[in-house]
């Protein structure tokens, strides 16, 4: 049988199986103080739709898990949007700030030119990511919220979002290769590995995040558009 989390599992047991869920749960507003509870109880207390919560945890933990059309149909869209917003602010806030701090330490022994070039690359990546998220927050989420209120804004549809939803993977992948292979010898190898672990963590997290947007949010909103017609 395929591995899958169910609402009768304790959050602490789910976290045992995949500790990156701590972060994911926290972005949905479920903190560690709830970790002794079963998933359905924790969701009740935090005012979250349990099937939406389970779906996101499953997507993050089991690469072979594909949400069924029924699951997509019964989703609570505001909870998904809330989660996506939470993730955006986590990436551009804590995740990138931590990475930037470790970068600063890693590059300390380098000369100014090299340090400057790498930090510039980092800053460009950061603003690219921010721009990517801003488009979602300023165009897509308000559109979805309007749909839910029963109005359908003219001149936009989720298809447009899907079509223009570009990958933000490439620069991060380049950053990984630069750190792994091309930094000057004076950079500390332990710090290098530390930075690489953060980059890999961010990469995997972003990939799951993109999956939720493309394969959960988009079909769910398409249902909503269809229902409104």
């Amino acid at each position: 049988m395929k591995d899958i989390f169910t609402p009768d599992m304790r959050l602490s047991d789910m976290i045992d199986m995949n500790y990156t869920l701590m972060q994911v749960m926290s972005r949905m507003g479920v903190g560690l103080s709830n970790s002794g509870l079963k998933a359905d109880e924790a969701c009740r207390q935090c005012g979250l739709d349990v099937s939406t919560f389970m779906l996101i945890c499953n997507v993050y933990s089991f690469p072979e898990y594909v949400p069924s059309p029924e699951e997509i149909d019964s989703l609570n869209i505001p909870d998904i949007v809330r989660y996506l917003r939470g993730s955006h602010s986590y990436y551009t806030g804590r995740a990138l700030n931590n990475l930037e701090t470790s970068f600063d330490r890693l590059l300390e022994p380098c000369d100014e030119t090299r340090k400057g070039a790498i930090l510039k690359f980092f800053v460009e990546y950061k603003s690219e990511l921010e721009k990517h998220f801003a488009r979602e927050e300023d165009e897509v989420f308000p559109y979805i919220e309007a749909l839910q209120k029963g109005t359908r804004p003219e001149g936009y549809s989720i298809d447009q979002f899907e079509e223009h939803h570009e990958s933000v993977d490439e620069k991060l992948e380049d950053m990984k290769n630069i750190v792994m292979k091309y930094l000057p010898e004076e950079c500390d190898p332990e710090l290098k590995m530390w930075v690489l672990v953060s980059i890999y963590g961010l990469r995997d997290d972003l990939r799951r995040h993109t999956y939720v947007e493309d394969n959960v949010l988009v079909p769910a909103v398409r249902n909503l558009e269809r229902d409104g017609e």
């Binding site: 070039a117 690359f121 380049d174 950053m175 292979k181």
Partner: protein, 199 residues
Amino acid sequence: MESRKTVSLIVPSDIVARGLGSILEESGEFSVEEVFHDFSKAAESRLRGIDPDVVIIDPVILDFKSRKEGRNMLSDVCDSIVIALDGPAVTEDVLKLYDGSVSLYDRQDELVRKLRNALETRQPDAVSDGGELSAREKEILVCVAKGMLNKEIADKLNLSIYTVITHRKNITRKTGIKTVAGLTVYALLNNLIDLASVQ
């Protein structure tokens, strides 16, 4: 220890896929990274990602008409050596297009030898990952880092645009870096340019 060469299989038959897989794994020289039962868009994008050393394809998987083009379609996707699986439905002129062929009736040592040969023949003009950039590639990298477009680079160096694109592909494969911003950092770290020339 030299690392194993990676192989992807594109064969419709699960029996054949598993058979080839276990023979290759057993040899200790190859490891099978992924098996595709069709040559769909999804398979294409996976192949692009894993970029295996060798692809073994059963040409039966392609429509009769596109069998000859199949080889070219694959080179657009990845730089692997492409080996055809010989069978009743495959003709000589199709086989000629591939870097080699293996048969269902090959013994284990024959199969491994054929793959090894194909890899070796390809070696001289093949670019290995992580290899040094050639003088020409460095020249092109510097242009890219300065923000020049392919057309401009082609004009400046008297090359066709197609050649520039091939060089750029090779640069990316050797360095593992895809974006212009990333290549600029690479060029700076390797003292190919100074900061003033990119600002």
